[in-house]
């Protein structure tokens, strides 16, 4: 059994919470006591309000909106699913970025009556920026447009025109009604013209990229295990999670940023020694030579090494009320490392509606732009395009300790 992580995005009132409720309900993932709880709370037009299954906070139930990312879990005999339910409000862009950062797929909802709107642009742009490999556009509320094939085709056409400059590996469209359950889990008798899969069918059958070994081997050192006991006097294990690729016993390796070299002596999991470790295994690696390695260093194989630099160019989503301006200093956290950094330049800000690059002296809350940043020490990284694991970073404000920026590395400058 494998795991698919996906995010749902859509404007307020596009029926996102209803869709998730419907997925859970029709796949029989809702428990009796949860149903009783929402039945008690109220019904809409004689139907259970499925949206109540997802809005977990008091304020959300009071206002009928989703404030923060919630994670939901369900499974079918074919697959396990983790849903990041991200709010659609414009002021919560950072929450969508948060949910998107770990997703293999994005579901973007469009109201069949309204068609492609501003928010659709924003959500699609974020999905593309975060390099979510697969996007499925659910044209919802088909019941309110008489299940019209023409209307659906029109929206698909509009969307394709708009998204032509966005980069998705897979893009699908499905006409649904979340409220009534058409094409969500069960095939809709109201849309006999639809020959494609239901949403759940699509989610179950989608081939997600599983062969992490075709990526370059990257192992950020997380923690050094040194028992210093009689039995393990000289034991010095480098613990971490393989971020990408495959490491084998006997591999020649380099440690970055220092560039020191050695060979993998052995790889351990808790129970036993293993011959190889691949992403996303958490393991402990022992090396032939005693070299100085600490948390934040990256073990890589000799070939195809990442970039090592202090000068980084990146796309940045700004998440703090206090705007980002050049000259500001932040703690930059990338893989397991942490280094002081200074923002040198804002190259441009992106208008998410038009994808236009605008000249700008600052990035305000929820804005996205291109920046140049210098770190106090060199760090090892790949471009986010090639490796989400080693090409991503966050900025931390050392005054408030808050996570204020999400960065995707373009390269060194």
């Amino acid at each position: 059994m494998d795991l698919l992580r996906f995010i749902t995005a859509g404007s307020v009132d596009d029926g996102k919470s209803t869709l998730i409720g419907r997925l859970l309900y029709d796949s029989k993932s809702v428990f009796q006591d949860q149903l009783e709880a929402i039945e008690k709370t109220g019904q809409v037009n004689g139907q259970i309000n499925l949206a109540l299954l997802t809005d977990g906070l008091k304020a959300e139930r009071e206002q009928g909106i989703t404030i923060d990312v919630a994670y939901k879990y369900f499974s079918t005999p074919k697959r396990k699913f983790i849903i990041a339910d991200a709010p659609g409000h414009i002021q919560y862009t950072r929450n969508m970025v948060t949910g998107a950062s770990n997703s293999d797929l994005a579901i973007i909802l469009i109201d069949a009556r309204k068609g492609v709107i501003e928010q659709t642009y924003r959500h699609s742009y974020i999905a593309s920026l975060l390099k979510i490999p697969h996007v499925v556009i659910c044209v919802n509320k088909m019941d309110l447009v008489d299940f019209s094939k023409e209307r659906f085709d029109e929206i698909v056409e509009d969307y394709k025109n708009f998204a032509s400059d966005l980069d998705f590996k897979g893009l699908e469209f499905i006409p649904i009604s979340a409220l009534n359950g058409d094409n969500v889990v069960d095939t809709s008798p109201n849309m006999s013209w639809w020959k494609g899969k239901t949403l759940l069918g699509y989610l179950e059958d989608l081939e997600i990229e599983v062969d992490e070994t075709k990526h370059e081997p990257r192992f950020p050192v997380q923690y050094v295990i040194r028992p210093q006991t009689e039995d393990h006097h000289d034991y010095r294990g480098y613990a971490g999670q393989v971020r990408s690729g495959l490491f084998k016993k006997g591999d020649d390796i380099a440690v970055l940023p220092s560039g020191l070299r050695s060979k993998i002596k052995s790889i351990y999991t808790y129970e036993s020694e293993v011959e190889e470790a691949f992403a996303p295994m958490s393991v402990t690696i022992l090396l032939e030579d005693e070299i100085d390695i600490s948390r934040g260093d990256m073990i890589v194989t000799d070939k195809h090494q990442p970039i090592v630099s202090q000068d980084i160019e990146a796309e940045l989503c700004w998440m703090d009320a206090k705007s980002l301006v050049p000259g500001n200093k932040y703690l930059l956290r990338q893989t397991t490392g942490s280094v002081k950094s200074a923002v040198k330049e804002i190259s441009f800000r992106i208008d998410i509606q038009t994808h236009e690059k605008l000249e700008s002296s600052q990035l305000a809350l929820n804005e996205i732009g291109r920046i140049k940043i210098r770190t106090a020490k060199p760090i090892a990284f790949d471009s986010y395009f090639e490796n989400r694991g080693t090409g991503s970073f966050v900025l931390v404000d050392e005054g408030t300790n808050n996570t204020v920026g999400a960065g995707m590395i373009v390269g060194a400058y």
Binding site: L3, F31, Q32, D33, Q34, T41, D55, G56, L57, K58, A59, R61, I67, D68, V69, A70, Y71, K72, Y73, S75, K80, R94, T98, N102, V210, D211, E212, T213, Q222, Y223, I225, R226, P227, D231, H232, G237, A239, G240, Q241, L246, Y270, F278, P280, M281, S282, R295, M319, L331, R333, Q334, T335, T336, R388, G389, S392, F393, V394, N401, T403, A406
Partner: protein
């Protein structure tokens, strides 16, 4: 696609949880693992063995004993700590009551669940813990579904769901000011079924409470409730003997049993797969109001 380069969903969850535990060890000065002797914290201990052996745990196990715990769970707790040779710290809610810091609830269903928070916060202060690892899962309850893996609490232990740090990729930000602490939930993404399947796959021992046994019970609010010295019975309560097991183990005053014949892990997994109620459906503390868990968490509950 080769199976060699593919982890099953349980292996993926395990790898993620070990990564989170090591992040705690690396980012904090004085972490602790909150350990109750229940299945989720037992799973955490097992994951910690995987994360840190052959080294020692970089944190003690800490139990806030309400004084209303099942003796089977307490025995198991002590045995486990002994067996793995790790430090166990126990602090007692009774002490907080005796010191006048916490007030026992009155009424027919008194529970020490809420005042447990007082003892927990005192313990955090006593040892200056900056991170407390807990076994909560997001599938348990709707307020939990909103919580981050690294959940920052202010100096009063409070959670503000509207002011959570964004948590991106697998970069966890554990930076805090003095006096604040972080609650860390390494098995956030596991479901109840995942935990059981993992316990079976890894052959992890559990307290006998989880398996079917005969027990004296009374019916309360449509749930099967264990009779103990901590429960006040009156003439309307009819004591019966039933074959039951526990799906979740908390205080004896708020944990209900379920009627069940399941006495092996396979039976339990089958039972959970076909169950129509959630695990917390048997927790009276959650039934008190629609936002019971959220309110408790805001107040510093783990």
């Amino acid at each position: 696609m080769t199976t060699r380069t593919r982890l099953s969903h349980l292996q993926q969850l395990e790898a993620e949880s070990i990564y989170i535990l090591r992040e705690v060890a690396a980012q904090f000065e004085r972490p602790a693992l909150l350990f109750s002797g229940g299945k989720d914290s037992i799973t955490l201990v097992h994951l910690a063995l995987k994360a840190f052996r052959p080294g020692k745990f970089p944190f003690p196990l800490v139990h806030i004993d309400t004084g209303h715990n099942f003796k089977e769970a307490l025995q198991f707790r002590d045995d486990l700590a002994n067996r793995i040779g790790e430090k166990l710290i126990v602090r007692y809610v009774q002490d907080s009551i005796d010191q006048g810091k916490a007030v026992e609830e009155k009424g027919k269903f008194p529970s020490r669940n809420a005042i447990q928070t007082v003892t927990l916060l005192d313990t955090i202060e006593e040892f200056k813990f900056d991170a407390c690892i807990g076994g909560a899962r997001r599938d348990e309850e709707k307020a939990r579904a909103k919580e981050r893996v690294f959940s920052v609490r202010d100096e009063f232990g409070s959670w503000d769901p509207k002011l959570q740090r964004p948590e991106l990729w697998n970069i966890y930000n554990g930076k805090i000011h003095v006096g604040e602490n972080v609650r860390v939930f390494p098995i956030s993404n596991w479901t109840e079924l995942d935990v059981w399947e993992y316990i079976k796959a890894e052959n992890i021992p559990l307290p006998s409470l989880y398996f079917s046994h005969k027990r004296q019970i009374v019916w309360r609010e449509n749930v099967v409730f264990p009779v103990s010295e901590f429960v006040t019975l009156d003439s309307s309560d009819k004591v019966e003997e039933k074959t039951v097991r526990f799906r979740t183990v908390g205080d004896m005053t708020c944990t209900a049993a379920v009627e069940s014949e399941a006495n092996s892990l396979d039976d339990i997994i089958r039972e959970i797969q076909t169950s129509r109620t959630t695990e917390r459906g048997s927790r009276l503390d959650d039934k008190r109001s629609e936002a019971a868990m959220e309110e408790r968490k805001r107040g510093g509950y783990f």
